[in-house]
């Protein structure tokens, strides 16, 4: 230390405090750095070498037609076939989901499919079973088709997942760490003690944002590095673009963290609000599956969520190599969240 007697500016000391409090809490370090890696590793392994999907179907009856049907279906690679003697046991298997579809052959050579059309695997079972049966009965397709399967880097599930997890982690660590330390400080009357000093209040709030940035670099580097080395997930855009997206996302979520903790006096209360704010984004923002699965009427709201903007921008930057120009919409959404949440938090913040 050069001159320990000269005081550092308050914002520097406050940021250092944030930093020290974090690294001296081993659990926080685990949840921020280790947990996302475990999640990425687990999901990555689960979906990495996914075999072509198989679906289980039942054939009911002991007639020769039923036996023939079962044999024909067994020849299809996508199907696992189970034979039932009685209709009742077949229906039970259908109801409990053991089989996705049950085939019954009529005396006139007709076939009857029982299935629940709201189940995706039942729908795919229906088309697969039907195609197999029709072909084995002699149907000839009028169009010749040649299939080419693709498993390219950048379009696998893990490639989709890593930017999603990165966004999720930026949100979780920003909101949680801030909410937790602010509410604890309020609960222990530390906030009251601090406002009894000449400390500028905005600098106190700002220190949470500045300290987040230090951790952000580590968090992002760890997760992207992990994805790159273990699963060969590409980073096609420029590092600068990616860094800017992460930075703005972290600032926006930190502001949201300040906002959710602006009134709560207990950690329990704050965690309730935090979950309320984050849960919809876990589901709707397209972290684990594409948000376009939701009805069109929801889309404007889903687009306006900060996590959707973050995840979309990260995917575009990492997988499609999008430049800043292409990310204007997402960055605007994040910018609005940042400014609005911080201003409201500063206004309604309970200092004691």
């Amino acid at each position: 230390m050069a001159d320990t007697n000269r005081p550092r500016p308050a914002i520097v000391e406050l940021t250092l405090v944030r930093f020290r409090e974090f690294i001296r809490e081993p659990e926080a370090v685990f949840w921020t750095f280790v947990f996302p890696l475990l999640l990425a590793a687990g999901l990555g392994i689960a979906f990495r070498n996914r075999p072509p999907e198989t679906v289980r179907v039942g054939v009911v009856g002991t007639s020769p037609a039923a036996r023939q049907t079962a044999e024909a279906l067994r020849a299809s690679k996508g199907l696992i076939v189970e034979s039932f003697d009685a209709d009742s046991s077949a229906q039970r298997a259908l109801q409990t989901g053991t089989v996705a579809l049950v085939v019954a052959r009529g005396e006139a050579g007709n076939a009857e499919y029982s299935f629940d059309p709201s189940r995706p695997d039942a729908r795919s079972a229906r088309s697969l079973v039907d195609e197999t049966l029709q072909r084995s009965a002699g149907r000839v397709d009028p169009i010749a088709v040649k299939e080419q399967t693709v498993q390219a880097r950048g379009s696998r599930y893990i490639d989709f997942l890593i930017p999603g997890l990165l966004g999720l982690n930026i949100m979780g660590s920003s909101v949680w760490s801030i909410a937790f330390s602010i509410v604890t400080a309020r609960n222990k009357k530390l906030l009251k003690r601090l406002v009894a000093t000449p400390m500028p209040r905005s600098q106190y709030l700002l220190s949470f944002l500045t300290s987040r940035l230090v951790f952000l670099i580590a968090e992002v580097a760890v997760l992207i590095g992990f994805g790159h080395w273990v699963f060969d997930v590409p980073v096609r855009g420029s590092i600068g673009t990616l860094a800017l997206v992460c930075l703005i996302a972290a600032l926006a979520f930190s502001s949201i963290g300040l906002l959710v903790s602006s009134r709560a006096t207990t950690v329990e209360g704050a965690s309730g609000i935090t979950n309320l704010v984050m849960m919809p984004m876990w589901i709707f923002s397209g972290v684990f599956f594409s948000s376009s699965n939701f009805p069109a009427a929801f889309q404007p709201v889903i687009r306006a969520l900060p996590l959707t903007a973050t995840v979309d921008a990260l995917r575009a930057a990492m997988l499609q190599g999008a430049g800043l120009g292409a990310l204007g919409g997402e960055l605007l959404v994040l910018g609005v969240w940042l400014v609005v949440a911080f201003s409201v938090a500063l206004k309604i913040f309970r200092w004691r």
Partner: protein
């Protein structure tokens, strides 16, 4: 060491002046028309039971609570206009602050130092509160007394001219209390103005130049500890108890006993016995014994002590301080 302004003009401005302060909470009037004037360089005590309004009063003075009515001026400046400047001039120890347990003593003091434009040297203040050996220890590992001294260091680091200490020794063991008292005495010697609240009469007697006794949100007595004690006009307090407890003597008997020993008033119930304020204990005690003998009541306990601020409070309110 800080320099003190010596001009007569400044000396006359009170360090703190409080006029007709009122603060109501939902269902209670915490402060009910309270006036105070604290002189430069004195140690002023607010003494009263829990719930008397001491903490509310001191937090209004500290600019942490806004009063419903009344005015506070610190060295002529007011919270409504000069909050920024005032924050730089005062040092505060709150009744219950838990400083961050993950930080070390030195980091905590350094943090507070960074808030003040002018202040004391961090090492010097840590030395002053005798925490040199704990400099690198986490706050979470400190004892109650050490935490309280750290809180005092945070109050002192901005080199304040006016220091507010809210119940600085509550919950401390006797040794830590004495240590803190010595510290406060050294701050007085420095020439700082100190306002402290306490419900310990011995603390007020030892530390304070002047004391305001507060009850139900009002100042009910004001003066130096000596003046207050003399005001009850008793040379000694005689306490006694008899077999059969408080029911052994009825009101008429007590009144007669009071007259017989020339007490300032009838014996007052206290801790299962009675207390008498007397001017001449060498005459009062034999008279008391004679009275009890004549009534056939057996004495189980007899003590005399010099009156304290506690006795002043009891005389003024009819309640003991610790009864609340």
């Amino acid at each position: 060491m800080r320099e003190r302004q010596g001009s007569a003009e400044v000396q006359r401005t009170p360090a703190l002046s409080v006029r007709a302060l009122v603060k109501r909470f939902a269902d209670v009037v915490a402060v009910n028309g309270l006036d105070l004037e604290v002189r430069q360089g004195e140690c002023f005590g607010l003494l009263g039971p829990n719930g008397a309004g001491k903490t509310t009063t001191i937090e209004i003075c500290e600019g942490l609570t806004i009063p419903d009515e009344g005015e506070v001026a610190i060295g002529g400046q007011r919270w409504s206009h000069d909050a920024r400047a005032l924050r730089q001039r005062i040092g505060i120890q709150l009744q219950e602050t838990q400083l961050s347990e993950k930080l070390t003593v030195e980091e905590t003091v350094r943090l507070f130092r960074s808030f003040y434009a002018k202040g004391q040297d961090v090492d010097r203040v840590i030395g002053l509160v005798q925490l040199d050996e704990k400099r690198k220890s986490r706050v979470g590992t400190l004892s109650g007394g050490q935490k309280q001294r750290l809180a005092l260091a945070c109050a002192l680091i901005g080199d304040p001219e006016l220091l507010f200490l809210d119940e600085p020794t509550t919950g401390l063991d006797p040794q830590s209390r004495r240590q803190l008292w010595e510290l406060v005495e050294s701050l007085k010697a420095d020439g700082r103005t100190i306002v402290l609240t306490t419900h310990y009469m011995d603390e007020a007697e030892r530390l304070c130049d002047r004391v305001a006794i507060v009850d139900h949100g009002k100042v009910i007595a004001l003066g130096t500890p000596r003046e207050l004690i003399t005001s009850i006009a008793a040379a000694q307090v005689v306490s006694f108890a008899v077999t059969g407890g408080e029911t052994a003597l009825d009101a008429a008997a007590l009144e007669e006993i009071g007259r017989a020993v020339s007490a300032t008033h009838a014996p007052r119930a206290s801790d299962g016995g009675w207390e008498l304020h007397v001017a001449a204990p060498h005459e009062a005690v034999p008279a008391l014994l004679e009275q009890l003998r004549r009534r056939g009541v057996e004495l189980t306990e007899l003590r005399t002590h010099s009156p304290t601020l506690e006795d002043v409070f009891v005389t003024l309110t009819g309640r003991a301080l610790r009864d609340g």
